[in-house]
Symmetry: C2
Subunit: 348 residues, 2 copies
DNA sequence: CTGAAAGCGCTTACAG
DNA sequence: CTGAAAGCGCTTACAG
């Protein structure tokens, strides 16, 4: 007894089907893989045999020879935080990552490729790399925003197809998808200016991640070019609580600000609260523009005017690029940059 | 320096390691799988050979003989909705499913088992079943709340180990994890009564799912036993918008209600808005109790008093049960019921 | 404690 | 268009 029979009885193998159809195993394989060269009559016989035996291919055996697993990893590489009670919880309840997962899943489905979602704190990197090396997946979608994250380079060194969610830190010949961060910040600045606001402030994301620094730079330099200088900025951590705290700091320093650009909707939701707790109305006293157009923008009171980032589409594009690289490993890396747009609601 | 296996380059196999270590392939296999019977000196030699060759086992080959994939599916079976612009989006940004995913991922990690997350609308059932039959995974965690969902029975019929997130509809010999829904509703009712409220109302979940009907029944019968009858109820769909709409209906019917039990925090957040839009204060005019203790409970204004359901722990327990069933397929199915608790914050 | 050998269930050149 | 045969890279009874 080499191995115990499969749960629920023996599964039929390709040999059973071949016997039932009176053909060779090779022919059954060709029918299953839609090889062109099977005679219609035989194809039909085989299909009937497949149906009658209830045959389902064994994926391990197939993978062993094709060297394809038909699955792909979505690695979400995020720094851990001192106050992180639960890293996994933060990742899996974050609306941004949720949208990414939804977009990637949807795009992969027509390819019959499945997604293994792997949140990765720095301490998990080793495990992730080992997993990828073992050939569990055909490629990886790597969500990494931190400039100093070593994972993109490590994954690339594995020689496994990979697509990043933003420009790689340093010269890595790897495909990536991004949104034009600067253009997005400019859209926000222009809106606030057009509303006649001149006492602007901003809550930016962490400066060691491009989405943080580029949105800040874009916002400030657009304003500077139009004569608005010295715009105060406080750094938040892309969480609701971080946005709320940052807004308090800003309000304490200058209670008279009349406009606020917040680098994410989640932070904007927190900021809205701080502003309102401070007794100021939105948008009458302070106009607020967020970034992302995630579902929280609609849940805010008032509904948030925000810079829309088509996250699901971007994730779908990442998946499409990855599939192309898997299909053709010598394909040149390329980047796809999405243009953001302004969604005007009630907050500005 | 280990030579990296370039694109198209050969990964070393077990034979390479065996040759490098001067032993047989079988011995290398034993070292890798921690078989007890390897002499320490040989074990060490083999380990050095593994390191120097950069060998990593091929998982497909291993799976083919062990019949284990070391991954598990998390199937989230949900009805689609007429107004569902994006099913995937709804699933992946739902805080409840996020907590489930986090809990399961964390519990599986020590087993070195990975999670394939599969949202499944009714139209996807066929695909899901096929995926499971192909042996991609060793077992399935099935999140299904709808009483008429055929998937639990279908998956069970596959003979693959499965653990459900609630009592199966009908007599299915399958393990499941649940929270004591009735006890939770009673906790809410008792709290509201203890606050002196007598004009109570409730927003319940869909009645064709146990979490919907049991919370409603538990709430009403607890009150009835204490002389409070005819409590109005409106059904919501467990979304924020659904809760808001339901609260409006309730308020229109009886503007004088002084307490509200809402069957999920997400719906409670919506209800809070409707109540406040209606010019009524929480908790002064209307006390509100939610259900779940998800992160949104803390984000509400005021922070929500709610019935805590330890979702992450429950998901971890599901994972533990599943691993046990995989390890020992003849293990008897069992159910594990968690007791809810009341978390008192500001809304009641 | 270790090795030779069989076998897991497929796919795919290679002939015919 | 079809089949016989080799081979993918492992694990594991079986002998020694």
């Amino acid at each position: 007894m080499i191995s115990k029979p499969g749960r629920g009885g023996q599964h039929p193998t390709m040999d059973h089907v071949a016997a039932a159809a009176g053909v060779s195993r090779a022919t059954v394989s060709r029918v299953i893989n839609n090889a062109a060269s099977v005679a219609p009559a035989i194809r039909e016989t085989v299909q009937r045999a497949i149906a009658s035996t209830g045959y389902v291919p064994n994926v391990a055996a197939r993978s062993l020879v094709t060297r394809r697993s038909d699955s792909v990893a979505l690695v979400i590489s995020e720094p851990d935080r001192p106050d992180d009670h639960s890293f996994l919880n933060r990742i899996f309840t974050d609306p941004y990552f949720g949208r990414v997962t939804a977009g990637a899943t949807g795009a992969l489905r027509p390819h019959d490729v499945h997604l293994v979602v792997m949140p990765a704190e720095p301490s998990d990197h080793h495990q992730v790399v080992r997993y990828l090396r073992q050939g569990h997946v055909d490629g990886v979608l790597l969500i990494s925003s931190n400039e100093h994250d070593p994972l993109p380079a490590q994954v690339h060194a594995l020689g496994i197809p990979v697509v990043l969610s933003s420009r790689p830190p340093g010269p890595l010949p790897v495909s990536y998808v991004d949104v034009d961060q600067v253009a997005g910040a400019e859209l926000a600045a222009a809106r606030l200016l057009s509303l006649g606001r001149r006492r602007l402030a901003t809550i930016n994301g962490p400066l060691d991640i491009p989405a943080g620094s580029q949105r800040l730079d874009g916002f400030r330099s657009y304003l500077r070019d139009r004569g608005v200088d010295g715009v105060p900025a406080v750094t938040g951590d892309f969480t609701r609580a971080g946005g709320e705290a940052a807004a308090r700091v800003l309000l304490a320093a200058d209670p008279a600000i009349d406009a606020l650009f917040v680098a994410s909707d989640l932070m904007a939701e927190g900021a809205l609260r701080a502003v309102q707790d401070h007794g100021r109305r939105v948008p009458e006293d302070i106009a607020v523009v967020g970034f992302d157009d995630s579902s929280v923008a609609l849940e805010c009171r008032p509904p948030l005017t925000t810079v829309r980032q088509p996250v699901e589409e971007m994730a779908a594009e990442m998946a499409a690029l990855l599939m192309a690289h898997i299909e053709n490993p010598s394909r040149s890396p390329r980047s796809v940059i999405f243009q953001p747009s302004l969604v005007i609601r009630d907050s500005a």
